[in-house]
Subunit: 339 residues, 2 copies
């Protein structure tokens, strides 16, 4: 591999000049520049990123932190496209992506490994609903540039998230618009941010239709299919016309419970989910749901992070981004088209 020095010699200039050309710095004689460029080309020279990293203190590597729990849970449908979005966006800006799993309890090992690994300029942390982590706040306190995907109330790091509240409102309003009035809902754990947000959206919708919230029609579950099933069994006693379920996974459980009770979806009970997981379109009946722009989320997370990395003053701009969701109408709500 050719080095800067080789190029400098070949071009008959100093290494500093070559460096200037490579980094596109102004103030190099055009003629010299082309001479250098030719030498670079002939020697097939590439700057050595490690050496550059040592000199500049910037590696152009960003980390992606993934709680190990996520990998196996409902967010499975979330992580791959997110990662793809991140990697694409990063590549587009000349950054590399380094992956780091960490356990919920942020033990010393994973801490040392993922961060003081010292390679990363900053990182994007996937904040699952399932973690009560100690690593992230610590990193942030140390001034390590961090962007979270998902809201994490205990931290004021820049974040990207879907507008859960608006999405839930849209879902619920859809149910109301097509005529349902006695609405139930199955929520996730109410001590987590995401279920809270989605529930607010649900209430927003009811409120906009002047319908009071009936506590008996609100059942909490744990975001799993089984949880959705159990919750639905309970909800059945209240005879709702339609149910907004906070996640597709739970909605599928609900579907089973309804069917087990000898009822039909959507004729007896209409259902709307959230997330648009791949399975949503495959169950019978296909689920009406709220789609998240997952890949875009990844893109935006990168933008946010690079913004922080490259303009260390700009920290006021662009914090806490919220991306819009999209209603996907399928059969489970009982309205095949609503244009």
């Amino acid at each position: 591999m050719a080095t800067l020095k080789d190029v400098a010699e070949a071009a008959g200039v100093s290494r500093a000049t070559v460096s200037r050309v490579i980094n596109g710095q102004a103030g190099v004689n055009p003629e010299t520049r082309t001479r250098v460029l030719r030498a670079i080309d002939q020697l097939n020279y590439r700057p050595h990123p490690v050496a550059r990293g040592l000199a500049t203190k910037r590696t152009r590597i960003i980390g992606v932190f993934v709680p190990t729990t996520v990998t196996r849970l409902f967010l499975d449908h979330f992580f791959p496209p997110l990662l793809q979005g991140v990697v694409q966006a990063a590549a587009g800006r000349g950054y590399n992506v380094m992956l780091s799993l960490f356990s919920d309890e942020g033990d010393r090992d994973s801490y040392a490994h993922s961060v003081h690994n010292g390679y990363m300029d900053g990182a994007i942390a996937v904040v699952s609903a399932l973690m009560s982590n100690v690593l992230l706040p610590r990193l942030q306190a140390e001034g390590f540039p961090l962007v979270t995907v998902g809201r994490w109330p205990a931290m004021d790091a820049p974040s990207v998230d879907v507008d859960n509240r608006a999405g839930a409102r849209t879902a619920t309003e859809h149910l109301l618009r097509i005529g349902h009035r006695r609405l139930g809902t199955i929520t996730g754990p109410r001590d987590l941010p995401m279920p809270q947000d989605r529930h607010q959206g649900f209430e927003d919708a009811l409120r906009s239709y002047g319908i009071p919230v009936d506590r008996r029609l609100v059942v909490e579950a744990d975001l799993t299919e089984l949880g959705g099933m159990v919750a639905m069994q309970r909800l059945l006693e209240e005879k709702p016309e339609a149910v907004f379920v906070q996640s597709d996974t739970m909605a599928i459980g609900a579907l089973k419970a309804i069917r087990a009770a000898g009822l039909r979806v959507p004729q007896d009970i209409a259902l709307v989910g959230f997330d648009d997981i791949p399975l949503a379109s495959l169950v019978e009946p296909p689920l009406t749901t709220i789609r998240q722009p997952i890949q875009l989320l990844g893109h935006m997370a990168v933008e946010l992070l690079l913004d922080v990395l490259e303009n260390p003053g700009n920290k006021n701009a662009h914090r806490q981004l919220q991306l819009p969701t999209e209603l996907v109408v399928r059969a489970s709500c009982g309205a095949l088209r609503t244009r």
Copy 2:
């Protein structure tokens, strides 16, 4: 951040000695060693990997190359657990994982970016059935350490793969064992290695039962659900009793085609798939299929790569690993238990 120099001063030794301690080199006075260790601890010193990388020419970063096509196709169910396996195994050995997508055509950009990026000591390439790539062979020719996941006949790089042939044979023999005789099969593109291997396994099974292969019962498709559906429609005319479908994704398509024709699975036609994607257990009826040890595949790929990286002589050992598969009996084959 404390540096080597700080530690050396605090311990009253030279930087060389500290370096020796850190790297666990023999030949350091135990007493000196503990003194150094204490200083390291007090200063909370961590070696700076970039500096170390510059000095040693090894970064302890391994790459994972993913063809962009994979991210959206059937291997979606494959990639996340694989990646998890890779990252875990790498972390266990003190390596970091860098992700790199590349397009099928290995254009200059992605080439430059992913490889001459110069960060990686070596890489694991996910060889999808869908790529005809030029990047990998080039890298290999340049002596870049590479391990492939999946077989890639044009290359003799070390690889890990599932034993597709044996798995297909097991699946087919299961069908035969429970009494089916007129077997059809839906294959992937026959010019790709994986479909070829699986088809060989299918023929192996028939042969072991003394049944001739009937060309009319072999239909090729493109590994998509739609492809499976179309293929099945065609196969229906031949009235097979049972069908071995080379992938679960296609099997789900086949399922739909059978149902659309007013027939039942498994009563009218039995089905066995391959891959055990998450959806396999969720469709109706649940799919009997062949499970791959995906995460283990990731682990082994790392082992293989590190073996090459750390013992540059050993290249004869461990090449072309094949991992066993497992038959998962569910309802679609018509035999709920076969012990």
